[in-house]
């Protein structure tokens, strides 16, 4: 019976580790391979505080969460600059360093000998020693951690994390604070993992570096992958599967002398076969489309008539160099409310770079950007979106793994559920706000003509629908200045006209719209004002028909 209970305890502990790791890799796309470090920190902190300072429960547990959460915040810093394979290598190195510190800081950690004789968990004078007593505690902890992770995953914060996973720059372009999200999710995942570590220390009564090697991180990763990334129930199932598999194999009689090796071989083969035939994991990522709201339930209010007089956005003397290449030499541009401005010019003229400068994705070397008269040159992309300047990308950068509705929902501004504090302190208010936002997002989709596709994955849309979704996402930001990078390219006549009509409607409602476009007919059809850009300068500005009749500009354009 003890074996069953012991396996139950281990499933609970690994379920905590797998769900917390899933928040990092499955939800946020942060492939940080140091999860066993957080596990170890929780275990050692509890061991030291319990054994040496004799602190009672729950102080060691809370201290483990605080300390490990703090370390998680620090480990998040590299992820702000690097991603993908580089983040994997960096975090692996951090884990190796952590293990080295554990092994060498003998006076604190016991060095290679570890710390033994850690007192069992004692709650209210009741000592929880042995699997039978410990399982209820481990189960309760696993349930609480799961609920916390699920609460986060299903909330606007979790939606923002998944948007970041799909495309970091696109998430920033709809106003998401990437720094806050990365740091928060690292801290949170670390704190949750430390719960498993803290319980592990009490349960085993021994902690040593051997228990927290890189192989442990790989095991937890396998649980997440086998269960299904982005699916928290999958993480629990994955943990159960990989804890139970060796136990089942242990009951298979194999030739003596090689049984250990053979069991490991079978274990590896099962994993390989599993990943070959079920790469998405046991459970797929659930569709989190939000609750569908009846069509037309919330009419969209686009009007943003501003009291500000003059151009909403101006760029003056903008310059940008990439080494010896001058991308933007001296650009003056102004975007006014109620007008569609076309930015045209040959390839390499600096059009997209100009967008990047105006939206904070690149810093200007010189010049000034003003929005409603205020200098905003130093603001980050998400801050500029919140201020009122949003952009799209030439390559769309939709959140393809999310539903159409979520693509719009995530872009809505001022969502209190984007902050962890509000999620836990004002859950009711966040829920009500999210319901209202869902209705608002549905309204935008109805307006744009995608209402029927709201619950579909963005990945399943046609190209024309994707272009529409880009417009919808930008509308959702409620920004007053909307910059569209080639919104009409690749579209047939009807689809193109539909988007032009939408742009006209946006301008009519008081938005300052700017588009980069190569289709001259479309420009003539859509734009009120044209800026001709070449060699990083605005060579000419004015009425589209006039500029397009200028033979010199035409020659430059088609050279």
């Amino acid at each position: 019976m003890d074996l069953v209970l012991h396996v139950g305890v281990m499933i609970c502990l690994y379920a905590i580790l797998a769900t917390s790791f899933n928040l990092l890799i499955g939800f946020s796309g942060l492939f940080a391979f140091g999860h066993a470090t957080f596990y170890a920190l929780g275990a050692y902190t509890t061991a030291i505080l319990t054994q040496r300072l004799h602190l009672p429960f729950p102080i060691p547990l809370l201290a483990s969460m605080l300390l490990t959460g703090g370390v998680g915040l620090a480990i998040a810093l590299p992820s702000l600059r690097i991603s993908g394979i580089y983040l994997i290598i960096t975090t692996l190195a951090l884990q190796v360093i952590a293990i080295d510190i554990i092994i060498n800081w003998t006076s604190l950690t016991g060095g290679p000998s570890g710390l033994s004789g850690i007192p069992p968990l004692s709650i209210g004078g009741y000592v929880l020693s042995g699997p039978a007593h410990f399982l209820p505690v481990a189960f309760a902890a696993a349930v609480i951690c799961f609920l916390v992770a699920r609460h986060i995953g299903n909330a606007p914060f979790g939606r923002a994390l998944r948007a970041m996973r799909e495309n970091e720059s696109a998430a920033a372009s709809v106003g998401k604070n990437i720094f806050y999200m990365k740091v928060s999710v690292f801290g949170l995942a670390a704190a949750l993992a430390s719960v498993a570590g803290s319980l592990f220390a009490h349960y085993l009564s021994y902690v040593g570096a051997d228990s927290f090697q890189v192989s442990e991180t790989v095991l937890i990763l396998s649980m997440v992958v086998v269960g299904g990334t982005g699916n928290l129930i999958g993480s629990v199932v994955g943990a159960a599967f990989l804890v139970l598999l060796p136990e089942v194999l242990a009951f298979v009689d194999l030739p003596q002398g090689f049984e250990g090796q053979l069991r490991l071989l079978i274990y590896g083969c099962v994993l390989i076969l599993f990943l070959v035939f079920r790469p998405e994991g046991l459970l797929r990522e659930p569709r989190r489309g939000g609750r569908r709201v009846a069509a037309g339930a919330t009419p969209i209010a686009l009007s943003t008539k501003t009291a500000f007089v003059g151009p909403l956005l101006t760029g003056t003397g903008l310059q940008k160099r990439f080494g010896g290449i001058v991308a933007i030499a001296a650009l003056d541009i102004s975007l006014s409310a109620g007008r569609i401005t076309g930015l045209v010019g040959p390839n390499g003229a600096g059009k997209t770079t100009a967008f990047n400068l105006l939206t904070g994705f690149l810093r200007t070397d010189a010049g000034e950007i003003r929005y409603k008269g205020k200098v905003l040159s130093e603001l980050k992309p998400h801050e500029l979106v919140r201020a009122g300047i949003a952009r799209s990308f030439q390559d769309l950068r939709l959140f393809t793994g999310m539903s159409v509705l979520e693509n719009v929902l995530v872009a809505l501004p001022r969502q209190s559920g984007d902050r962890l504090s509000a999620l836990f302190l004002r859950p009711g208010s966040v829920r009500r706000e999210d319901e209202a936002n869902t209705a608002k997002a549905m309204g935008i989709l109805e307006f744009i003509g995608l209402g029927e596709r709201a619950m579909d994955l963005a990945d399943d849309l046609s190209y024309a629908e994707e272009k529409l979704l880009v417009v919808a996402r930008l509308i959702a930001t409620e920004a007053e200045v909307l910059l569209f990078d080639e919104p009409l390219s690749g579209l047939d006549g009807a689809a193109m006209q539909k988007i032009i009509d939408l742009l006209r409607r946006l301008a009519a409602d008081g938005k300052a719209v700017c588009i980069i476009e190569h289709n001259l007919d479309a420009i003539r059809n859509a734009c009120d004002h044209l800026v001709y850009l070449d060699e990083g300068r605005a060579l000419a500005q004015g009425d589209p028909n006039t500029l397009m009749a200028d033979p010199e500009l035409v020659q430059r354009y088609f050279r």
Binding site: L3, P112, D210, A250, Q256, G260
Partner: protein, 387 residues
């Protein structure tokens, strides 16, 4: 301390327990269908060579006992589980042994696995015998745990007798960054400082490290009259090889020499002096001779300390079973096996003669000093080390 007291108390009460046994003798022994003995070995750990020879030793002993009719006609079986060198996996394996076989006696290996598994055994009164690790961390803390390998405090001091005898004053040392390695390091440093010697350099490395050049370069620079090696197979092999290749000519002193070490060190092992539990395959004593001959015949290798200790471990448990059985009743329990050894702590040893378990559970064995000559360990003398 508590465990020591309890073991001492048990020893003090041994006559009373014997009397109780005689009372129990009135009750016929409740024989199990088979005597199943558990073992936790690092079969798939990175350095699994010693687990392989431990397993060989265990299986040889089981086969021998069964061939001779078992214990009181009951067969012995070994239930070997893999702990992969990971404490948590060791606990998993122990719980499996308990669930599957209600194991009453288990052979442990690896100090960190032992530290995680021993509290569970202690709580469930499972007899433990450790013939592999030398850590002092396990000594005297668990009343159900016995050791049939000399522990770090003994081994290190035994090795240091060579340095003292040769008049060395300056020690350079290389230690494994494992619990066992660090236990040896601590014991050796304390002994050497008490003697008045100086330590000119200390380096550590992972037991599975394949590149220790930085450490060796620093030790060469440090000098030293001798190089102490506090590592386990195959670690000393690499240390010997690189030390000689780095031009270090001083005497190398360690605590282990195995076929694996010889394989790695090659000719550089020549002259290496080591202290180990005195197992001499060439000894005149019939048991070591027979064991060595059978082992060679079966596996084509000379047995060394790990094979011998785990082979011996099965025999020690068998002896405890016999003694407990004489007490009648439900005798095949960890509690009764422990009582049997507490009551009479002297058991036959494959190292020759008898071994006596001390109050802290460690077996008192003779530690021999050996020197590698022509690739073979040649006995030099017994180390005089007080307990």
């Amino acid at each position: 301390m508590t465990a020591n007291v309890s073991r001492r108390t048990a020893l003090a009460l041994a006559p009373a327990m014997l009397a109780a046994s005689s009372v129990r003798a009135a009750e016929p022994p409740k024989d199990p269908p088979v005597f199943r003995i558990g073992a936790l070995l690092g079969l798939t750990d990175k350095g699994n060579w010693n687990a392989t020879v431990m397993q060989r030793g265990i299986m040889m002993a089981v086969d021998e006992i069964n061939a001779a009719g078992g214990i009181a006609g009951i067969k012995v079986e070994a239930a070997i589980e893999d702990h992969q060198g990971v404490p948590r996996v060791g606990v998993d394996a122990l719980q499996r042994l308990r669930a599957r076989y209600d194991i009453q006696a288990v052979l442990l290996s690896y100090s960190t696995v032992g530290l995680a598994a021993a509290p569970i055994c202690e709580e469930n009164k499972i007899f433990m015998l450790d013939g592999g690790s030398v850590t002092d961390g396990l000594v005297g803390k668990f009343s159900y745990l016995f050791h049939n390998r000399s522990v770090a405090s003994v081994m290190a001091r035994a090795a240091m007798t060579v340095a003292k005898k040769n008049g060395y004053k300056k020690m350079a040392q290389m230690a494994s960054s494992t619990d066992d390695g660090q236990s040896l390091l601590r014991a050796a440093e304390a002994d050497w400082k008490a003697y008045g010697g100086t330590i000119v350099g200390t380096e550590t490395g992972l037991p599975t490290a394949s590149n220790i050049d930085t450490q060796m370069a620093k030790l060469r620079t440090a000098g030293g009259d001798f190089l102490a090696i506090w590592e386990f197979s195959p670690g000393p092999g690499l240390v010997l090889k690189r030390a000689r290749e780095f031009g270090m000519t001083q005497q190398a002193i360690g605590i282990e020499f195995t076929a694996e070490i010889l394989k790695v060190a090659g000719a550089h092992a020549e002259g290496y002096v080591f202290a180990t539990d005195y197992f001499n395959p060439e000894a005149a004593d019939p048991w070591p001779q027979r064991f060595a001959a059978d082992y060679r015949k079966k596996y084509g290798d000379n047995p060394e300390v790990y094979a011998a200790n785990y082979y011996e471990g099965i025999y020690i448990i068998a002896e405890a079973i016999k003694r407990a059985r004489a007490g009648g009743g439900n005798y095949f329990t960890g509690e009764r096996l422990k009582q049997a050894l507490d009551a009479s702590p002297v058991v036959p040893s494959v190292y020759g003669g008898n071994m006596t378990f001390q109050p802290d559970g460690t077996g008192l064995k003779r530690v021999g000093i050996f020197k590698v000559v022509d690739g073979k360990a040649v006995f030099q003398n017994f180390a005089e080390v007080s307990r």
